[in-house]
Amino acid sequence: MATAQGAALDRKKLMADPIMVTTIVVLITFLTLFILYPLAILLIDSLYGDGNGLSLSVFKRVLAMPTFTRAIGNTLKIGFVVGILSTLIGLLFAYVEVYVKMNRFAGGLFKLVSMLPVVSPPFVLSLSMIMLFGRSGLITRFLLGIYDNNVYGYWGIVIVQTLTFFPVCYMMLKGLLKNIDPSLEEAARDMGASRWKVFTDVTFPLMLPGLGNAFLVTFIESIADFANPMIIGGSYDTLATTIYLQITGAMDKVGAAAMAVVLLCITLAMFAVQKFYLESKTAATLTGKASRARMLIEDKSVTIPLTILCSLGALFVIVMYICVPIGALFPTWGYKFTPLTFKWFGQVFSKYKGLKAFRDSFVLSLIASPITALLSMIISYLVVKRKFKAKGFIEAVSMLAMAVPGTVLGVGYIRGFSGGLFRTGFLQGLYGTGAILIIVFVVRSLPTGTRSGISALRQIDKSIEESAYDMGADSFKVFMTVTLPLIKDSFLSGLVTAFVRSITAISAIILLVTPSYLLITVQINEFAEKGAFSIACAFATILILITYGSVLLMNLVMKFFGTSRKIKEDE
C-alpha cells in the first residue's frame, strides 16, 4: 500500500520546522558522540587492542587474570545478595506504610529514610560503617569492647549497599502496592482467607513482577557501584574497583577496556530483562488504579511489632547518616570525643584546599544541571509527543545510558577522547577540561531526568499541545509556552536531581579528573582511603548540607512558583 506519500508529507512538515530539525540533529550528535561512541570504542579496543587485527586475545588475557575472574564472581555474588536483601527490606517497609496504620513519628522516619540516600554522596554509609563498627568503631570498640573487628570485605559491602539501596526498593514497591485495588483483597478476605493467606495468594502474586523489577534495579546499581567497594571493600575487589585499579595501578588501559565490556554486558543483560520483560508484566497485572482508600490494619498485635521493627531499622539507617557530621566534630575519632571541635572543618579550608574543591564541584554541577534538565525535557517531549524517524534511536540511547555503569563510561571516555576522536586528534582539546566533566555529569543524570519527564508528559492530554499548534504556534513555541510550563515541577525537580547527582558523582569522574580540578567526592574518597576519616567526614558533611539545602530550596520554589500544582489541585 502507498504509505509513501504520507511519510513524505510528514517529513516535509518536519523540515518546515528548522528549530525542531536542528534540535533533533544536535541531540542525535550528542547521544552518539558521548554515549554510543565511548562504548563502541571500548569494544573496538578489546577486539583490536593487541595490535594483531580482530581477535579475542585481549579477552583471553584478562580472563586469565585470577584477580579479574575473582572480581566477576564477587560482583555477581554481592549483586545477588544485596538485590534480595534490599527487595525484602524494601517490601517490609512498603507493606507497613501502605497497609498498616502507623503513628506520625514512624511515618516521618520512613520519609527521612527514603530521602537520605538521594541527598547523600554514595560512600557516606561506608564511612560511618567503618567509624561505628571498624577497629576503632564507636559501637564495636567502645560499647562492645571488641578490638579487632574487621568490617572490610564482603559483609561490609553487602551491609552498606543494602542500607543504601533498600530505600529505592521501598519507594518502587510503595507505588506498586498503592496501585493494587483493595477490593481484590477484600474479596479474598470475604471468601474466608486469613490476612496471611491474602498476602500469599493475592497481594504477593500481584506484585511478583514488581519485586523482580526492584531486585534487578538494585542488582544493576550494586554491580555498578564503585564508591562503597572502594572504601569498605578492602582486598575484596569487585569489577568496578578492579577496572579502576587496572587503569590507575597497572596502567593497562586496553585490558581495562575489555573488563569494562564484560561489566557492561552483565548490566545490559539485566537491564534488558528488566525493561522488556518485567516492566510489561508489572503493567499487565496492575492496570487499575485503586478504586478507593484501603482499610488499614489497626490490629495492635500486628501494628505494634511491625512499626517497632521498621522504626528501629529506620533509626539505625538515620544514625548511620548522622554519624558522619558528628564524626567531623570529634577531636580524634575513636580516641578523644570531647570537647567537640570545628577544627576539621577549619582544616578542610585551610590545609586541604576545601574552597577550591567545593567551588569546582559546585560550579561544574551548576553548569551541568540546567543542561541536563533541559535536555531531558526535550527528549521526553520528542519521545512522548512527536513522531519522526529517529525517535526510536533517541529513546533507546537515552535509556541505554541508564544501564551503563559509571566506571565503564569513564574508561570509554579515556579511550575515546584522550587521543581525540578515533585517536585522530580531533576534539582532543576536550580531554582533561572541565567541559568533559560537565558532559559526564549530563550523561550520568540524563536517564533519570528523561524518565521523570516522560511520565510527567504522559499525564498531559496530547490535544492541549495540538491545540496550540493548531492556533499557529510552531514546535518551539509550543514547547516553550505550553509543554514546559505544564511540566515545570518535573523540570525543577530534574534540575535539582541533576545537580545533586552531579555533585555527589564519583565513579566515572574519578577516572577523568585532572589535577587542575579538585572535586569533593574525589577528595573524600582520597581521605577515606588514607584513613583520615575526620577530614573525610568534614568534607562529606558540607557536601550533604549543600545537597540538602538545594533540595529544600527546590521545595520552596515549587511551593511558590509551581503552576502545575495549582492546576492539579482543583480537579
Binding site: 508529507l9 491545540s467 499548534y469 499557529g472 495549582k566 492546576i567
Partner: protein
C-alpha cells in the same frame, strides 16, 4: 465576521494505519472525495473507527494523507503544517491551556499573529460576548463548568477567523441536557459568524440538528452524503438507514412499477412503495420503513406477534415479530388509540409514500 469563507475539497484521500496487534496495514480512510461549500455546516457522522476523526485531523494537518490531495479555498494544503493552515479546531477534551486564564487562552493565537494589544483586547472581548462568557476573562480554566470550557474552546477557535472551523466531537463530554442547548448555540454562532464548519460526531441527532449536509462514513469510506432530510427519508443502504434513526427492513422482490410507484412482493404479499426508482423489475430489494411510519392495526399487509409493548409517554413502543424478523413501531400520541398487549396478534401496514426501496 470571517475574512473569507473557504470551502474544503478532498480528492481521493486515503490514510493507511498499521494495526498495532497484527502489524497489518489497513485503510482508516479509503479513496474519499468530498466537497464542502463555503459557509456551510457539514457533519462527518459514523460509528467509532469509521475514519471521520482521521479525516478531520487530515484537514487540520495533524495527519498526512497517504493518497490524494486536500484543498482549502482552492489551494492545495497537503504539505502545510497545522500552524500554517487557515483552520481552527475545537477539541473533544476542549484542550484549554491550563496555565492560562480565559483571556489568555482566547488571545493565544492572536498573540502568535503579533497583533497589537488593543486589537487583541477588542477581539477577545467581542468573541467572549458572542459565546456568552462576558466578565469571565480573568478566570482560570479549572474554575469553569464543562459547558463554559466548551465555549472558551469555541471562542478561541472563532477569534482567529479561520477559513474553516473544525469540531472533533465537541459535545461528547457534556451531559445530555447541556448537549442539546450547546448544539443550538453552536449552530447560532456558526451562522452569525458565517463560517464554514466541519463537525465530527457519532451522535445522529446532533448531526441532524446542526447540519446543512451530513456525510455518513463507514469503515473508511463515505456511505452517503446529503441534507438531513435526504439522509433520513432516502437512506441509500441498510447501514445508513439503521445508523440514522431506527429502521425496519423487509426483504422482497420488485414485481413491477406502476405509475411511479413500485410494487414489491414480500413473502407472496404485494405492497406499494412510492420511492422505488433505482430498483429494476425482478430484482431483489429491501423495503425501509421508519418506526413512526409503520402502523399497527387489526388489518394490514402482514400478521405479526407483539413481543414488547411499552408506554414511552410521547409514543407507544412496540416490538413485533414478522416471522423471524423483529420490527420496531412507534405509535405517536397513543392516548385514546387501541393499545396492543404483549402476546397479541395484529397487522402492520404503511402508506406508500412513507416507505422506500434500496
Amino acid at each position: 465576521m470571517a475574512k473569507e469563507k473557504k470551502g474544503v475539497r478532498l480528492e481521493h484521500i486515503s490514510k493507511i494505519y498499521q494495526d498495532p496487534k497484527t502489524h497489518k496495514d489497513f485503510y482508516a480512510v479509503h479513496d474519499t472525495s468530498l466537497e464542502i461549500e463555503p459557509g456551510s455546516f457539514v457533519t462527518l457522522l459514523g460509528p467509532s473507527g469509521c475514519g471521520k476523526t482521521t479525516t478531520l485531523r487530515m484537514i487540520a494537518g495533524f495527519e498526512s494523507p497517504d493518497e490524494g490531495e486536500i484543498y482549502l479555498g482552492g489551494e492545495p494544503i497537503n504539505a502545510l503544517t497545522p500552524n500554517k493552515r487557515d483552520t481552527a479546531m475545537v477539541f473533544q477534551s476542549y484542550a484549554l491551556l491550563p496555565h492560562y486564564n480565559i483571556f489568555d487562552n482566547v488571545a493565544y493565537g492572536l498573540k502568535l499573529r503579533k497583533l497589537d494589544k488593543e486589537t487583541i483586547r477588542t477581539k477577545v472581548m467581542d468573541i467572549l460576548k458572542l459565546v456568552g462568557l462576558e466578565g469571565m476573562e480573568a478566570r482560570m480554566t479549572n474554575q469553569l463548568s464543562g459547558g463554559q470550557q466548551q465555549r472558551v474552546a469555541l471562542a478561541r477557535a472563532l477569534v482567529l477567523e479561520p477559513g474553516v472551523l473544525l469540531f472533533d466531537e465537541p459535545l461528547s463530554n457534556l451531559d445530555a441536557k447541556l448537549r442539546v442547548s450547546m448544539r443550538t448555540e453552536i449552530r447560532r454562532i456558526q451562522q452569525e459568524a458565517g463560517i464554514t464548519a466541519v463537525y465530527v460526531t457519532h451522535d445522529q441527532s446532533e448531526a441532524m440538528a446542526l447540519s446543512d449536509k451530513i456525510i455518513i462514513m463507514e469503515k473508511g469510506v463515505v456511505s452517503q452524503m446529503g441534507s438531513p432530510q435526504e439522509i433520513y427519508y432516502h437512506p441509500k443502504n441498510e447501514f445508513v438507514a439503521d445508523f440514522i434513526g431506527d429502521a425496519n427492513f423487509l426483504k422482497g422482490r420488485m414485481s413491477r412499477h406502476e405509475g411511479g410507484d413500485g410494487i414489491v412482493s414480500i413473502g407472496g404479499t404485494e405492497v406499494r412503495v412510492a420511492a422505488a426508482e433505482g430498483v429494476a423489475d425482478g430484482a431483489d430489494t429491501t423495503v425501509v420503513l421508519r418506526p413512526e411510519s409503520t402502523v399497527l392495526a387489526d388489518k394490514g399487509y402482514f400478521p405479526v406477534k407483539v413481543v414488547v409493548s411499552s408506554f414511552m409517554g410521547a409514543y407507544q413502543l412496540y416490538h413485533v415479530m414478522l416471522g423471524e424478523t423483529k420490527l420496531i413501531i412507534h405509535e405517536y400520541n397513543p392516548k385514546g388509540k387501541k393499545i396492543y398487549a404483549m402476546g397479541d396478534t395484529a397487522y402492520i401496514g404503511f402508506e406508500p409514500g412513507n416507505a422506500h426501496c434500496i
